[in-house]
């Protein structure tokens, strides 16, 4: 059985990364040319890693499920990217960014990794500007910043409401340059179905060509997983429709441990659900909380009048509005972290103050900001978000407040990695949202982009060299061995099994049922009973899926239903592990809120004595329970305290 060695370098926190870089081995240019690396996914993590590794001289193969690397879901990130530049002279620093991130994550992340993230954050901004990312600027020509939740400084760099798009286009351009040079080969519309392990090391993958259905084999000296998160377990989320957890899950089933699966981020500002035909939820950027104020009416009769459309929000007098975040958290106000804002919205709606027909919405109001700054300034800052809102809801947010409600957005949990970003399978790395390492139990806004690019540009290219320096004698991986045969056979068997069922329910119908179980029982508020119920119901639904799903068409063609079915099969296992992990963690922290564990004021109540660890799960087979390993989290630079956003 593998044991957990986080490989955190010794020495003072601020010196660990420099010291580690000086100590790890490098590979000579002549040897890099002989080494092959596979990168799965082309979001910020995957694209930046593949480009950087190509620049270094490795032979890289990069795979994505979309028709172009540029479509990866990082493209949809709106608000911004954090860095400790202190351009605003507001006393920001690497330590402050580190501290905010550890605190925002409710003290459930690894100190050394988070410090390194803050440390390399400044280089990311430099890199992106050099690539031609058109960040917002002041009239003097220097970069502009704004504020995000969980911070009292302005350290967020942005490109209108399309920061993720611009950063991804930067990384994609760097990737294109390497593709043109021939150092990277791109495989769009290819989905990884299996990881291949030879002599205990990750040596390749099995993929399905999504256009022809052809099953293909690829060998390499190392495999990098950059396949994103698993928020779509919930069916409805802000993730793209094709985002899935399958690549990570297949690695888990081959021996990569999975950490903190229950840590799910529910984002407070999303457009509310409108009906049962809905396919996905749309995020309204956290940056809106810079100028928008969140409220519900104080009086129940106003709530009734709003629901019956007898009153408009603008009819409700100032003194009859409850700006509940400003009331409960005076120091941070509307800019409290996401988990806190989401729970506060749920609390008001559960108390009967939800403002739409379903009772599941609160207002995000720009009236004060428009009066203070004028409509033009607001349009300049958030124009595309306001337009997006109006196109979806048919309501003009310049005149009436937006209605918002929390929705599943991001998964902090993921494949366990050590300080070098290597998983428990030698030669298999996980970066970006696919790993678990930097955000603890709650990710701060504008930190996902930071982590994806930190891992891909500035961490993995160094740490992977240390492993590959031991591989310079390894010949090209032979893909005709029995290990590749077996992996291919297993992938083909799953596909054949799915076609053989020909039941009565479509993939989406079953996925919606899973989403319902997850949202009701493993969502914003969890209890021992709800989590136990989820486990039973998911097991039942999984049986139903394998007995009654209907997958049309054949394997050897462009078959989107087959793609979805393969992914749902994995979500149906992943969802159970999420519930099991939530059941194990008898405390509340960050996005994991167990109703049994809360302070008298309704805040998350951690149990540092018993749960200051990352819960790391090992797969032990189809019919046996996963084994829990614990990575103890040691805090040397920060003092563990209950998060306080009040004063």
């Amino acid at each position: 059985m593998a044991t957990l060695d986080s490989k955190i370098p010794a020495g003072p926190l601020a010196e660990k990364w420099s010291k580690h870089k000086a100590e790890i081995k490098v590979v000579s240019p002549a040897n890099k040319r002989k080494l092959d690396i596979i990168v799965i996914g082309t979001g910020l993590g995957g694209a930046s890693a593949a480009a950087s590794l190509g620049e270094l001289g490795y032979n890289v193969k990069v795979f994505c499920i979309s028709d172009s690397p540029r479509r990866a879901h990082s493209i949809a990130a709106q608000g911004g990217i954090n860095a400790a530049k202190n351009y605003q002279n507001d006393n920001d620093s690497v330590f402050r960014l580190f501290y905010d991130t550890i605190k925002g994550g409710d003290y459930r992340a690894r100190e050394a990794n988070v410090y390194r993230l803050a440390e390399v954050s400044n280089s990311i901004i430099d890199q992106c500007v050099a690539q031609g990312v058109p960040f917002a600027r002041e009239y003097g020509g220097l970069l502009d910043n704004r504020s995000f939740g969980g911070a009292q400084v302005s350290r967020t760099f942005y490109a209108r409401g399309q920061t993720g798009q611009q950063l991804l286009l930067g990384a994609y351009a760097a990737l294109n340059r390497q593709i043109a040079k021939g150092s990277v080969k791109s495989f769009p519309r290819h989905e990884m179905l299996e990881l291949v392990i030879v002599d205990g090391k990750a040596r390749g993958i099995i993929t399905r060509n999504l256009v022809t259905g052809q099953i293909e084999r690829f060998g390499a000296h190392a495999v990098v997983l950059a396949s994103g998160g698993y928020g779509n377990t919930f069916f409805l989320s802000t993730n793209a429709m094709n985002s899935n957890g399958s690549a990570a899950w297949q690695c888990y089933k081959k021996g990569a441990f999975f950490a903190n699966p229950c840590f799910t981020q529910i984002h407070p500002t999303c457009i509310p659900v409108h009906g049962d035909q809905q396919s996905k939820l749309t995020l309204m950027s956290e940056s809106l909380r810079n100028d928008g104020r969140i409220w519900v009416p104080k009086k129940k009769e106003d709530v009734e009048a709003l629901r019956a459309k007898k009153k408009k929000p603008s009819d409700i007098a100032e003194e009859d509005r409850d700006y509940y975040l400003e009331r409960r958290y005076p120091a941070f106000g509307n800019l409290v972290p996401r988990d806190v804002a989401s729970r506060a919205a749920k609390e008001r709606c559960d108390a009967g103050f939800g403002v739409n027909e379903t009772g599941l919405a609160v207002f995000l109001d720009f009236k004060t900001a428009i009066e203070r700054l004028g409509e033009d300034v607001i349009r300049q800052r958030y124009g595309n978000l306001f337009q997006m809102y109006e196109k979806i809801t048919d309501v003009n947010p310049y005149h009436e407040p937006m209605m918002i409600y929390p929705a599943v957005h991001y998964t902090m949990g993921g494949i366990w990695v050590d300080y070098n970003l290597m998983t428990t399978i030698p030669g298999l790395y996980a970066i970006g949202e696919a790993n678990f390492s930097d955000h603890g139990a709650n990710r701060l806004g504008a930190s996902a982009l930071m982590q994806g690019l930190a891992d891909g540009y500035f961490v993995l290219p160094y740490t992977i060299g240390d492993y590959l320096s031991h591989e310079i004698q390894s010949p090209k991986v032979d893909t005709t061995t029995k290990e590749f045969d077996e992996a291919e056979k297993s992938a083909k068997a799953r596909i054949e099994k799915l076609f053989s069922i020909q039941g009565k329910q479509t993939v989406d119908e079953i996925h919606k049922k899973l989403g319902h179980i997850m949202w009701e029982n493993v969502g914003m508020a969890r209890t021992k009973e709800s989590l136990e119920k989820a486990i039973t119901e998911i097991q039942k639904l999984r049986k139903e899926f394998w007995a009654d799903v209907k997958v049309p068409g054949t394997a050897n063609e462009f078959n989107q239903e087959l793609e979805k079915a393969l992914r749902l099969a994995d979500f149906l296992e992943l969802g159970e592990l999420m519930a099991l992990d939530g059941l194990n963690r008898n405390e509340s922290c960050g996005g994991h809120f167990r109703v049994e564990y809360q302070t008298p004021e309704g805040e998350a109540l951690r149990d540092d004595e018993h749960y200051a660890y990352a819960a790391v799960w090992e797969y032990t087979g189809k019919d046996s329970a996963p084994v829990l390993h614990k990575e103890e989290l040691k805090f040397e630079a920060v003092h563990l305290a209950q998060r306080n956003y009040k004063d």
Partner: protein, 247 residues
Amino acid sequence: MNLKLKIWRQKDAKSKGGFETYHVENISPDTSFLEMLDILNNNLIHEGKEPVVFDHDCREGICGMCSLHINGHAHGPDEDITTCQLHMRKFHDGDTITIEPWRSAAFPVIKDLAVDRSAFDKILQAGGFISVNTGGVPDANAIPIPKKDADESMDAAACIGCGACVATCKNGSAMLFVAARVSSLAKLPQGRVEGARRAKAMVAKMDELGFGNCTNTGACEAECPKGISISHIARLNREFLSAKLKD
């Protein structure tokens, strides 16, 4: 709402395609266009028929994956949006809606409504980047950039690479797509260094891949979901001509 749909069906790139007619019922006006197609597909699967293949992903108008020609318009009748942001309230009960894939020689149909847009990747690989490696770059504030230039660069960089411009152009030209990238980088000092080489390489690749020429009809700008202005084409032409004059 009850609707009649005329949808292009085509088994694969080699087969001949044609329109098939379908009906959907009880569609809520708040449903998005792609959700309406999800409903149709769900019905088709239950009826034992093959669902309609169409590209889509983020469903919030930014990934550029969705690509439908609806009633003769790229991304449908509403302005400044992608297909995934189009909602059924823009249609009327009883309407007949015609749905086709992008039509362009450079974007061959793969199946039904999905096309191959890899030509766009190839154009960008020819020169749509700034040649810097990771690391060793100056501080982000080392070179001040006038706000106006940064804003104009961002205007062009808003392109999502969906291909509506090509599908709309009677010549099947990719000029707006190429211009958006060239113009975005040309407005920044970092991008000026390779400006001449970039414009020539990208235009040459565009011609090689079978895209048509620009005859300034402006149709691309009118159908662009991100409202990318054809003034960027003028800038591309200037960049291209001045590069050629220096040869």
